[in-house]
């Protein structure tokens, strides 16, 4: 069972939901948490970790100045502008623009290009507490290939029976990469007009990918609630509402988990999981 936690924008409490859900379930079984927010991974803040790291690499072209005739073919082929051919070989290569498509190597008539692996990030593995395994994808500063690091993190997760993934905010390529193959998507939002707008975008992505989804409304307020109406209109179940509450805010601001300090929430999250995963899905 792969459950992904996503949101149309940052700061809605997406990571919090992933962390609380994992904590609540760890009473019963082993949970694998995968941080797919590789540009700003922060699940480890809830689960301080030691652990160990493995690099994530990507193939990039290396130019042989002796063979290169400066014909310019590689720069023409590169859709990402990662190569500029100067008067004197070898061509200038901008590694951070390269998407590892392999096009330049294939197109060089002189065989002057071969590929070598270059590190763009890492995967960190840890076991911060009983029954929780955390795999964090980390994209190095200034790198562009987030989807590659996400794919690597997910591949290390393998087919673990209880996997919870924390997606990056937004709806761009990295989110789609993280969502691929998920059995259920929990969309986290807030009851504000901005929250609603971003929720609508995120919902359209899950719909496109055909992933069943439900909504958790964080900082829920009855007065300003357009989100519930939206969910009704889209036939999206509201899985849980977390009210705007001093005690909850205090726990969260100190890096704590409400499913640890408030038993009622531990039950709510555990119950949410069993409803989401039960045969026939969540009743709408």
């Amino acid at each position: 069972m792969n459950i992904i936690v996503a949101s149309g924008k940052g700061g809605t409490g997406k990571t919090l939901v992933a962390a609380n859900l994992a904590y609540a379930l760890s009473d019963q079984k082993e949970v694998l948490l995968v941080d797919c927010d590789v540009e700003e991974p922060n699940l480890h803040l809830f689960f301080p970790q030691g652990g160990y790291e493995l690099p994530v690499t990507t193939p990039v072209p290396v130019f042989d100045a002796d063979r290169c005739t400066g014909c310019g073919r590689c720069a023409e082929v590169c859709r990402y502008g990662a190569i500029t051919v100067l008067k004197e070989p070898p061509p200038l290569f901008f590694e951070k623009l390269c998407h590892s498509c392999g096009g330049c190597e294939m197109s060089c008539p002189e065989g002057a290009i071969h590929e070598e692996e270059r590190a763009i990030g890492k995967i960190r593995f840890s076991n911060p507490r009983d029954n929780i395994i955390l795999i964090s994808g980390i994209l190095d500063e200034g790198e562009v290939m987030a989807p590659r690091v996400i794919a690597a993190a997910k591949s290390y997760a393998g087919g673990h029976p209880t996997t919870i993934l924390d997606a990056s905010p937004g709806i761009a390529c990295p989110v789609v990469e993280a969502m691929q193959g998920a059995d259920y998507c929990i969309l986290v939002t807030e009851s504000t007009p901005f929250g609603l707008h971003d929720l609508a975008l995120a919902e359209s992505v899950t719909r496109c990918l055909g992933i069943p989804s439900g909504v958790i409304i964080n900082r829920f307020s009855e007065e300003d609630d357009q989100v519930t109406d939206f969910c009704r209109s889209k036939d999206l179940p509201v899985l849980m509402t977390i009210p705007f509450d001093r005690e909850i805010a205090r726990i969260q601001n100190t890096g704590g988990l409400i499913s640890e300090s408030m038993p009622a929430y531990r039950e709510k999250f555990a119950d949410l999981f069993s409803r989401v995963t039960s045969a026939g899905g969540f009743s709408r």
Binding site: G72, G81, K87, V144
Partner: protein, 111 residues
């Protein structure tokens, strides 16, 4: 010597464009003659890596200097490596006026 001015349109009477990689046109002038030629920038609305590709257009057209408003980091690297001098001009004006200022030595090279 060939100098390139980034331009919003295909003619010398068009306004200079302040962005380098996303300039719609590059207009090349010869400091020794009167002629010029305009090259449309195929990457003006590209998604990424427009800087180095725009620099490639300048290299392929034999420019030795460029007058523009702003150059991104990657394009800067490519222009420098190709030995193309960069001159910044940040007041709005026509391409022709920019070329005149360049010819009169009124612009200082960015270092």
């Amino acid at each position: 010597m060939k100098v390139c001015i980034t331009s919003k349109g295909p003619g010398p009477d068009d306004m200079m464009e302040e962005r380098f990689g996303r300039a719609p046109f590059f207009i090349f002038f010869d400091t020794e003659g009167e002629e010029h030629n305009a090259v449309e920038n195929p990457f003006a609305s590209g998604a990424g890596g427009v800087g180095p590709r725009a620099a490639q257009v300048l290299i392929d057209n034999g420019a030795k200097a460029v007058v523009t408003g702003n150059v991104g980091g990657n394009a800067l690297g490519a222009l420098r490596a190709a030995g193309i001098s960069i001159y910044f001009l940040r007041e709005p004006g026509t391409v022709k006026a920019a070329f005149q200022q360049f010819k009169d030595g009124k612009l200082t090279e960015a270092v």
